[in-house]
Symmetry: C2
Subunit: 345 residues, 2 copies
DNA sequence: CTGAAAGCGCTAACAA
DNA sequence: TTGTTAGCGCTTTCAG
């Protein structure tokens, strides 16, 4: 593989000049520049970003840590993050933290000397994030926050969104309301649940703890939990799912159990991923502006990399309840298992 | 940030010794090793992979180029690839080639001096791939092939799968069969369509070219094309979609158009992504062992990196038709638009 | 078993 | 405007 020395020799200039051409240094004379450029294309030279990274201690690499790429929320986020990174001339080192704790991946990313890390998965009390942030390493959290971590944050308005969901269910007249939590240790789950509970209580009701299950933000687990929830004697008439992946699982679980949605069970999700609007689901959910949030996270990180000592910023994006077809008034006096057949397209 | 020199000084050894400890060189005496290790943890030293990469010309970075992360096929592949890369001690530089041509991303990956690239998106006549492969750069293609490129390949058995789909539709008695193509320039689309057409012709029929549309493997486009297809006078009674993402789009489009599936329209997909089995879809489709294919691609790449001069290998994984609920006999004497209402859960 | 020294391919002063 | 030089932080001979 050709090096800048090869180019220099072939072009009859010094290696430094080659470097200057590569970095658009305005000082190189036009004829020299052209000659070097010609040799570069002729020899098919590709500058070595590793060597450049070593001397500049800047890799233009950004770590992106995702909780679970199989959750359709993440591809949507990734798409936007990826596009925005390109805009900033940055490349993505991707980590799916589903298997091992985020700490493991963070270490690998640090070894790789990435310029910064975007975490979309982080426990409320993540030491990793707190340590990194305290060392002034550029970190931004998306859709999560970490206790006591001084770092840039991009979140949706969980409180308002959850309250809207609760009020909607209350208005419809639901009394037995179940909840599918995410990870109890995630700020998102904690915040959404807190606001939801409060709104329900403000409505004079209370969320029955026996109807609250941990779905881990995961399709499979949410599916299991919903099946169980629908099996109990006085099952809920409504289910608030802390993300859309779980809401879709609940929808499928209800269908499998022969429970009609929304007649026998209302379901509300969170995020408004693209699939939520599909004809097959028509999910009532709380919209978060995912694309904007993703973009903002990259911009924030880029600024933080440029000036690590700036004050940290927290961007809160508005949430909005989108009413579609999975919520309705609860059916009167019907507490037993419905006899509805699973339907097909 | 601490360097190996800092460690050396603090431990009272030479920098070379620190390097040896880091690389598990068996020659270092146990007491020295322990002392160095202690200092390393005490100072929170993180070895610099960039510097290491420069000297070893090995980055342990692997580029993964994906056609469109929003296609649910890819998260499934990515999850498995990601997990397997970890097994090999490799990290993933991720590129979503949806926006710009793969060439752009390939160049960035080369600058980054990744050890190899896994392409899951590549046109049949991709110069990028052919050039890379001819230069003995480690490349593996998943679910695609490129004309004249001598590189490792992991594919499903498109011919057998497509034939099974065709035979299934033929057996059910369908005569007017539509097809949703991917990218005409993708080998997968080409191969699947060829085998499908042949099987239909072997059945004494022919696929009507006016019922063949290009869905670009994309949900949105497939949705549009299906709506159009369902609008024509003598619409198809069956639709073969060259991937599941398009099949799901077709399912939703049919629902939106008030066309009952499978009664008024049978739909067959390809891939058997996890969503295909959801109660909401119950999609009849051709299964490809995605996880195994992903794993194989990483293993192949790792071997290729280890020995760039080995003969290239092509791994073909078996396809299997999974019959679920989206296919049935065509309804008799009913060519007009059905009056079925869109259904909900 | 350990240390000294020579780079890996580039950038960035500093000279000329 | 261009060349010379000194590293960036590590691995890897080669000595000892």
């Amino acid at each position: 593989l050709a090096t800048s020395w090869d180019i220099a020799r072939a072009a009859g200039v010094s290696q430094a000049t080659v470097s200057r051409v590569l970095n658009d240094d305005p000082r190189v004379a036009e004829p020299t520049r052209l000659r070097v450029l010609e040799v570069i294309t002729r020899l098919g030279y590709t500058p070595n970003a590793v060597a450049r990274g070593l001397v500049t201690s800047q890799t233009n690499l950004v770590g992106v840590v995702v909780a679970d790429i199989m959750n359709p929320f993440y591809p949507e986020l990734l798409e936007a993050i990826s596009a925005q990174l390109v805009q900033h001339g940055l490349r993505m080192v991707f980590s799916n933290a589903a298997r091992q704790p985020e700490e493991v991946y963070a270490r690998l990313l640090m070894e790789q000397r990435v310029d910064g890390i975007i975490f979309t998965a982080a426990h409320v009390k993540s030491n990793t994030v707190r340590t990194l942030a305290s060392q002034r390493f550029p970190v931004v959290l998306v859709n999560r926050s970490v206790d006591g971590a001084k770092c840039d944050l991009v979140v949706g308005d969980n409180a308002t969104g959850s309250k809207a969901a609760a009020d909607h269910l209350l208005e419809l007249g639901h009394k037995r309301i179940g909840v599918l939590l995410g990870y109890p240790e995630s700020s998102t789950s904690r915040d959404r649940m807190a606001a939801f509970s409060k709104a329900i209580e403000d409505g004079g009701l209370e969320v029955d703890q026996s109807l609250v299950r941990v779905g881990q933000y995961d399709y499979e687990e949410a599916y299991r939990q919903t099946r169980q929830l629908l099996d109990i004697a006085r099952r809920p008439t409504a289910l608030f799912c802390l993300n859309d992946a779980m809401a879709l699982a609940a929808l499928n679980a209800a269908r499998a159990a022969g429970v009609a949605v929304p007649d026998d069970l209302s379901i509300v999700g969170f995020d408004d991923i693209r699939m939520a609007a599909w004809e097959a689901f028509q999910l009532t959910t709380v919209r978060q502006p995912l694309t904007e949030m993703a973009r903002a996270s990259v911009d924030l990180l880029a600024e933080r990399i440029a000036s690590p000592d700036k004050a940290v910023r927290k961007m809160v994006f508005p949430s909005l309840l989108i009413r579609r077809q999975t919520t309705a008034r609860p059916r009167r006096r019907n507490s037993g298992r419905s006899v509805a057949q699973p339907r097909r397209f």
